[in-house]
């Protein structure tokens, strides 16, 4: 492989040494009607760079205009949109379009050499499948020309196969995308940008038959950021080398935060839940099988006995059993790590314990406001009998008593005779 091509592929995919890249597509103003993400493109680009994005896709004009933002060792890779199409504006009946288009039109706009002159690390180009034989053939010709230019220039060519048009049905979309992925690679793509096929297995197959790095695209903006994160996490599980997401990032209320979440999944091994929390948890948590609970309250007694809080009695336990009428109806109530107490605390007196992942109280900050006690949905934060120590040996008031997961080996789960309380998710927890 030419050294220039390899260097640019590394710049895009190997900034973190893991072969993955979280990229943002910010080229919508080049093809769609004007929306907020088009008007505010500079602020959005600045925001995703602050979030640690690995690459940004821009039109040639914006690549020149925003060039200073890409400078420096930590600057993201610039990916330039080398072609143009009118797909987002298709449809005469779509009155939301200012100038509706009747025919899909796809053109090569710049050369690989011009993209290099703009400072591009890679270019992207569409490959439309399913619209018409003419569009497919023209797309093949344009893509082949680009690949030749890119190989001469040492510029990675990212081909974006899309299944669009009357030949596409819900039933054949995955097959067409897989076909497009393989065709793009046979033409000479160095990487792919492609929609998610909807499930891990079919996307894994697509990636396997492609044999080049695959960036998943995000599709239409979802109001639920979890959806976008789960889409990416599934694609990564299937073997994707990253993402090139557009509107899910650029139309997000906080693009930087979205990038932090995606890069957490890609580069720091976060789960989607970790990403939504903004923290990696390798820790344990308690789970329950209510049907197995006999209501014996041994867990409650063990909780009190295992802590020396200065008080005694089941009312001092950090979990409780809500009795039902018969075995199987009892409700096991414990800390679910929902973080509502942490969020509501006005003094930042609560935090995640860095070792156990449990909620930890910083007594010196607590002002006894009781907001954590009131907000706890399972009502397991109690007013402890041990007060705030304002001088050696002298205490006053009370402090919240919160489940500490017994430092990593919860007594309640250990003693439960039926396994109604058990410990889950502790893959790398070191006791």
């Amino acid at each position: 492989m030419p050294s220039g091509l390899q260097a640019r592929l590394d710049r895009l995919f190997n900034r973190h040494g893991d072969g993955r890249a979280i990229c943002v597509a910010a080229d919508h103003g080049y093809m769609s009607d004007v929306t907020a993400n088009v008007v505010n493109i500079r602020q959005i680009v600045e925001s995703v760079i602050a979030g640690g994005v690995d690459g940004i896709l821009l039109s040639p004009g914006m690549a020149g205009r925003l060039a200073p933002l890409f400078q420096g060792r930590d600057g993201p890779a610039l990916i330039v949109r080398a072609d143009w199409m009118n797909m987002p504006r298709l449809g005469n009946a779509n009155t939301a379009n200012a100038v509706p288009q009747r025919l899909l039109w796809h053109e090569k706009i710049i050369t690989a050499e011009q993209a290099l002159a703009l400072g591009a690390t890679a270019i992207t180009i569409y490959l439309f499948l399913g619209y018409s034989d003419r569009v497919e053939a023209a797309g093949i010709e344009v893509n082949a020309r680009f690949v030749r230019e890119c190989q001469r220039a040492g510029l990675p060519c990212i081909i974006e196969p899309l299944a669009v048009g009357g030949q596409v049905t819900g039933a054949n979309t995955v097959e067409i995308l897989t076909l497009g992925a393989r065709m793009a690679v046979e033409i000479g793509a160095d990487a792919l940008k492609i929609p998610y096929t909807g499930d891990v297995e079919s996307f894994r197959h697509l990636i396997e038959v492609a044999g080049v790095p695959v960036l998943v695209l995000g599709g239409a903006r979802s109001d639920n950021e979890r959806d976008a994160l789960e889409l990416y996490a599934e694609a990564q599980e299937a073997g994707a080398a990253g993402c090139l997401m557009g509107r899910n990032v650029t139309r997000s209320p906080n693009p930087a935060h979205m990038i932090e979440q995606l890069t957490g999944i890609a580069h720091r091994g976060w789960t989607v839940d970790d990403a939504l929390r903004g923290e990696k948890w390798d820790f344990l948590r308690l789970k329950a099988r209510p049907a197995a609970c006999t209501g014996c309250n041994l867990c409650v007694t063990a909780c009190v006995a295992s802590h020396d809080d200065g008080g005694y009695g089941n009312h001092a336990a950090r979990l409780r059993i809500e009795p039902g009428r018969r075995p199987g109806d009892h409700r096991v109530m414990f800390c679910t790590l929902c973080r509502k107490c942490i969020d509501v605390c006005p003094e930042d007196a609560l935090r995640w314990h860095p070792q156990t992942g449990a909620v930890e109280l910083l007594p010196e900050r607590c002002n006894n406001c009781a907001k954590c006690v009131e907000i706890c949905p399972t009502q397991v934060i109690i007013k402890g009998e041990h007060g705030v120590e304002f001088a050696p040996g002298a205490t006053e008031g009370w402090v919240p008593t919160i489940c500490d997961l017994c430092g990593g080996d919860p007594e309640c789960a250990r003693v439960c005779p039926t396994g109604a309380i058990y410990v889950a998710d502790r893959p790398r927890f070191a006791p």
Partner: protein, 256 residues
């Protein structure tokens, strides 16, 4: 921005106030001798000291070569189109075309300060694609040559559904394509606000069709006014342009 492009832009955007009065005298390319412009040099030379820039065709640019520092900069029309012709024109267009005429290298040879490109919206798909391709290519080549590219947005096709949104779309395409300035028809205050936000520091001229447009454009923050060939048909073109120039370049607060 490229230093040479900055210098050339400042030949017709006054560095003192960032404003610019441009008159378009290039319509003869497509429409022939318009009223007031039958004798081109006699019509245009008197207004050269009164405006900041004059848009001309490549051929007429050569005839205005002997200008002084007091005269306006020349902006060369880089494309030809028959989209300006109406159904009542002697050759009514059955098919809209856009033909490139000049490259940035040609602009250097002509000694003009910028190229002006027509961006047509609302016609066949291939016309729009040709406009976008020309925008990107002239912008990229212009960056190397130091010739600014101004995009003249014309949402005049029959497919335009939402006029003000079409103007915004044209500006978006121009900026994404690399334009150094845009000229737009007055799209209304809200749309123009969006356009200014999108454009940032890129100058935006408003192609004024009436005196009401002038005041609205200036109130909304337009960097410049862009007048069509109709001004030459007025009884006193020089007087009209002189008054507009004074209104445009008046010190802050003086307009009130």
């Amino acid at each position: 921005m490229h230093t040479s492009k900055t210098y050339r832009l400042r030949e017709f955007v006054r560095p003192t106030d960032g404003r610019s009065l441009v008159v378009d005298a290039s319509a003869g390319l497509s429409l022939g001798p318009l009223p007031g412009l039958e004798r081109f040099e006699a019509a245009v030379r008197p207004v050269l000291p009164l405006v900041d820039g004059v848009v001309v065709s490549p051929g007429q640019a050569r005839r205005l070569a002997d200008r002084t520092r007091a005269d306006a900069a020349l902006l060369a029309r880089a494309t030809w189109t028959n989209a300006l012709r109406g159904d009542d024109f002697v050759l009514p267009p059955a098919e809209i075309n856009l033909i490139p005429l000049l490259s940035p290298a040609d602009a250097l040879d002509l000694g003009v300060s910028a190229l002006v490109l027509d961006f047509l919206l609302g016609y066949e798909e291939h016309v729009e694609a040709a406009c976008l391709r020309a925008t990107v290519q002239l912008a990229l080549e212009g960056s190397q040559a130091g010739i600014p590219l101004l995009v003249d947005v014309r949402p005049t096709g029959p497919r335009v559904v939402l006029y003000s949104k079409a103007v915004e779309l044209g500006v978006s395409y121009a900026l994404e394509g690399g334009a150094d300035g845009v000229a737009v028809p007055w799209p209304g205050t809200d749309s123009f606000s969006t356009i200014l936000k999108m454009a940032g520091e890129t100058p935006v001229w408003v192609k004024v069709a009436s005196d009401d447009d002038v005041q609205a454009a200036l109130d909304a923050g337009a960097a410049g006014l862009w007048l069509g060939a109709e001004v030459f048909a007025r009884p006193d073109p020089a007087g009209a342009l002189s008054a507009l120039g004074e209104q445009l370049h008046a010190p802050a607060g003086a307009q009130a």
